[in-house]
Amino acid sequence: MFLSIHHLKKSFGNGESRVEVLKGIDLDVEKGSFCVLLGPSGSGKSTLLNIIGGIDRADSGDIVIDGDRMEEMKEKELTRYRRKHLGYIFQMYNLIPNLTVRENIEVGAYLSRSPLDVDELLHTLGLYDHRGKLPNQLSGGQQQRTAIGRAIVKNPDILLCDEPTGALDYQTSKEILHLIETVNRKYGNTVIMVTHNEAIGGMADLVVRMRDGLIRDRQTNEARIAAEDLEW
């Protein structure tokens, strides 16, 4: 198994204000698959994503990615791990305001020894004509596409997406989902996407439903629905 999570626990705060956000998560994700984590706010899905992404630490439990145990990694190793294996997409894009679209993507490319061709990617993302623009000259969808470009240009093993369509309108959301789907199929990255939009689950190989820090349901789709056919 490419990603294996065993009995993962995480809590925040101390004493009476202590909140257990993850109460024992077990999850296996295959390489190249598309996994969607669904659940209401506070269910622990973003925390789980952050722990997988190595930007937060679990209190207990194991995560093994491609044979490497994350809990044994020190800060520097975690940085190397993120650098080598991960691409991150956030709801709020987090682009560097004084770099152009192309340069923002190059920020990702710089981290890889064999990055994807930036021009080709710009075409794939539909951003080629906007490559010289700064983030504040772009629409929300264009900014998110740039953020996706930055995440995938280094061709990461895992693409972590935290509510990537949360700030976008319906049509743009579908475009972005289509893009992620295309990337997944074209480059074979493992995609783990956090969302509270049930409909998005249709495009995944594996749908994990969470509530109160526990996995309540896991569903394997035999056939994935194309992003453009999703309705909500």
């Binding site: 940085t79 993120r82 991960l86 987090n94 682009l95 770099l99 710089y110």
Partner: protein, 773 residues
């Protein structure tokens, strides 16, 4: 692949051009000034030190009442020294100044010709360059006394007069009213013997190995020479202010300039650190994303360090270029305006480069590195969540609900920007100190002159010049006859005249306080000039003496003979309100007894009117206001011009520090300001919310820092007076000086506030809608 983040740098520079420009200008100006100063100082110091050998400067000199006979010369030279006649004659010129004239020297204390040529004819003279500058004289002009005149053929520097001290016991040299010059030997030989001062320079056959040994040898020498011939003056080189003062002053200037540089670099480094902190706050989510994507902390530290380092480096390089070209000459001119230094050659100063370029860059590197490492040590998630402030950030300080909303809002702005305000306080306090010093010094000098003119012991003090005691039997008989004639001739019918006796003693050199002369006056019990009820066995000390040495009523202190180890202890019976010199006052009879003289012995007169019935040959010196104000006149001349520079510099620091930190505060609140506009706040209301807190803090900082600066100035001024000068001047800072500092500071702030208000007006409403970064 080159790090794409680097492409941000030129854009960062372009978008923050104003900020980087002012930092660059302040750094290059400071570094330029300091580098120019160090290069000029180093080059001139080298020229000064080389002058000892190049011009064969004396190891000391002594003066005698009469020309020494051959036997005496032989006896003295047998003491292990080579002796050189260095006689001089002194003339009161028609321009009111005094000219000390020597014969051209070709063996010792040689002359450096700086302009024109050396005298060749009897009526020609070459005079000190600085004295000439200060008196508007140049080659071709004439200087005159009431009876004769000389044509100036050249401007020179006499190697034994790099500082124009007319008397080694003077508190300060006087390059305005006192000058030195050289005439041909033939012209010098024609001067009358009665106007001649018999000064002998000496060089050791074997120079003492250390300063301590030099002191020991010279003290021994003094005793032995005094046994052969009565000394009227004895000045070994290490005590000769005319030779040593310049070198010592240049060294202390250097230390002060470096302290100035490092304070400014420190302030700038912290301003950068705050700027970076602000950028990190602004770009927190980007940093979090980069860290989450795999960028290491080191890469980000490097990225955010680049701009401060580049600007500092550029400032240092530009500063060094300006230092070697413009400021070097500017600083050399300042030295030439104070000292009679020989010509110098610019010497590449590796140490100056190190101190003004490498050290500032390293300082900037260390301070910023520490701040960045600390700030970027948080885990990526906290950046993404923008949870990067200190631990106290999470909890808002409770504010009383009764406080009006605007006031509470302003308090929140102040609390949010405490670090920036702390730096603002440091900048204001430092610049105010410079400004306070710059504005106060001329006031202190004026006040000193005014105080002296209204507080002289008497309008005239006549110091009588008695015949010297002979050393052998034949001379003693002649001396007694001379003494009788002297006492008969120095009586006056002037009813204002009042006799006093006076002995110069010296304070002890304890390492911190330099040994300096104290005038011990013996005065009449019911003196009309010294209005003090001096008890038996006690002494009043002048206010200056008391302030400088911290003497209080009831204290005891020790003084010593100038050329002997004999010590005297005195008890302070009271403080006498007199700043003119460091003096003590005792009953004449008691003081005479202390020094082994008859009860009615005297050697001077106090008088409010001129005494005209005493033969001039028995009057050594007349102390009037002009003589007493030498110190303030020279300080005004040496430092007056520099004070304008200090003031200008202080204003620039005000402007830069206030501009940068106010800018940071406004930028930090760009989104809330944008939101406030969307909500319907007017620009003036927003200005009221974001500029008024800073205005209040600026006013508060001035009100706090000015009294603090005064305390610091008291310490610095006292240190300067103790370590750098003999004599004493009180630090007098009237309210008007504080007001000026305050008004100049506030005016600087207002100029910046107008700029920042314009900036607030320009912040678009779309900022909050569009720029989510």
């Amino acid at each position: 692949m080159r790090n794409p983040l680097n492409r941000r740098l030129p854009r960062e520079l372009k978008s923050e051009f104003g900020k980087y420009l002012v930092i660059f200008l302040l750094l290059s100006l400071t570094i330029g000034l300091i580098s120019g100063f160090l290069v000029a100082d180093g080059s001139m110091m080298t020229a000064y030190q080389e002058s000892f050998e190049k011009y064969n400067i004396e190891d000391g000199h002594f003066e005698t009442g009469h020309r020494m006979n051959r036997a005496q010369v032989r006896a003295v030279t047998d003491l292990g020294i080579r002796l050189y006649e260095n006689f001089y004659t002194q003339w009161k010129l028609t321009n009111g100044s005094t000219m000390r004239i020597y014969a051209l020297r070709d063996e010792v204390n040689k002359v450096c010709l700086m302009k024109g040529k050396l005298p060749e004819k009897k009526d020609e003279i070459a005079i000190d360059r600085m004295y000439a500058d200060n008196n508007g004289l140049s080659v071709g002009d004439r200087i005159s006394t009431s009876s004769r005149s000389w044509k100036i053929t050249g401007l020179v520097a006499l190697s034994d007069y790099s500082a124009l001290f007319s008397d080694n016991s003077d508190a300060m040299f006087d390059s305005i009213r006192f000058g030195v010059g050289v005439v041909t030997k033939e012209a010098f030989d024609e001067f009358a013997a009665k106007k001649m001062t018999y000064s002998y320079a000496w060089k050791y056959r074997e120079f003492p190995a250390s300063e301590a040994e030099e002191k020991e040898v010279s003290e021994d020498l003094m005793e032995k020479i005094n046994a052969e011939v009565a000394l009227t003056d004895f000045v070994p080189r290490y005590q000769n202010q005319a030779i040593r003062f310049t070198g010592e002053d240049m060294s202390s200037d250097r230390a002060m300039m470096l302290i100035l540089l490092y304070i400014i670099i420190g302030i700038m480094a912290f301003v950068f650190a705050i700027t970076i902190g602000n950028t990190i706050m602004k770009e927190a989510n980007v940093i979090g994303t980069l860290r989450a994507s795999g960028y290491s902390r080191r890469e980000l530290v490097k990225h955010y360090m680049t701009m401060p380092l580049l600007v500092t480096l550029a400032g240092a390089l530009a500063g060094n270029i300006a230092g070697y070209t413009y400021f070097k000459d500017f600083c050399a001119a300042m030295y030439y305006g104070s000292y009679s230094l020989p010509t110098y050659v610019t010497i590449w100063n590796g140490e100056a480069f190190m101190l003004t370029t490498v050290v500032p860059v390293v300082m900037m590197l260390i301070i910023n590195l520490l701040v960045l490492v600390r700030k970027l040590s948080l885990p990526p998630l906290r950046f993404i969540r923008r949870d990067i402030a200190g631990s106290g950030q999470g909890k808002a300080l409770p504010l009383y609900k009764g406080i009006p909303f605007f006031a509470r809002f302003r308090l929140r702005v102040i609390l949010q920007n405490m670090t920036s305000y702390l730096m603002l306080f440091a900048g204001i306090a430092f610049a105010s100190l410079l400004l306070l010093f710059g504005i106060a010094l001329p006031v202190v000098l004026d006040h000193y002159q005014e105080e002296l003119s209204g507080n002289m012991l008497s309008k005239y003090q006549y110091m009588l010049k008695g015949p010297l005691a002979g050393e052998n039997k034949e001379q003693r008989i002649w001396s007694m006859l001379e003494m009788m004639a002297f006492y008969y001739s120095v009586e006056t019918d002037n009813e204002d005249a009042e006799k006093f006796s006076i002995w110069p003693l010296k304070t002890l050199d304890d390492g911190f306080y330099k040994s300096e002369e104290i005038n011990c006056y013996g005065v009449e019990p019911d003196s009309r000039y010294i209005k003090a009820d001096i008890p038996e066995g006690g002494a009043y000390v002048s206010a200056g003496f008391s302030e400088k040495y911290g003497l209080r009523k009831g204290d005891t202190f020790t003084l010593k003979e100038a050329y002997e180890d004999k010590k005297y202890q005195f008890r302070v019976a009271g403080i006498y309100d007199y700043q003119g010199s460091l003096s003590l006052f005792m009953n004449r009879k008691e003081l005479n007894e202390l020094f082994g003289e008859e009860d009615d012995y005297f050697c001077g007169y106090f008088s409010d009117t001129e005494i005209t019935d005493i033969d001039r040959k028995y009057i050594g010196t007349v102390i009037d206001l002009e003589a007493l104000t030498k110190i303030s006149r020279q300080l005004d001349r040496s430092m007056g011009g520099m004070m304008d520079l200090v003031n200008g510099f202080a204003v620039i620091i005000f402007l830069v520090v206030i501009y940068l930190l106010t800018k940071i505060i406004i930028e930090k609140n760009g989104r809330p300001i944008s939101l406030a506009k969307i909500l319907g706040y007017e620009n003036h209301e927003i200005g009221g919310l974001y500029l008024v807190p800073t205005s209040l803090m600026v006013v508060l900082f001035f009100l706090v820092s000015i009294p603090l600066d005064y305390r610091v100035l008291v310490v610095l001024f006292r240190y300067m007076m103790i370590r750098e000068m003999t004599g004493w001047m009180s630090l007098y800072v009237p309210q008007s000086v504080y007001l000026k500092v305050f008004l100049i500071g506030i005016s600087s702030y207002l100029a910046v506030a107008v700029l920042e208000y314009r900036k607030i007006r320009k912040i678009p409403m779309e900022e909050i809608l569009k720029d989510t970064e």
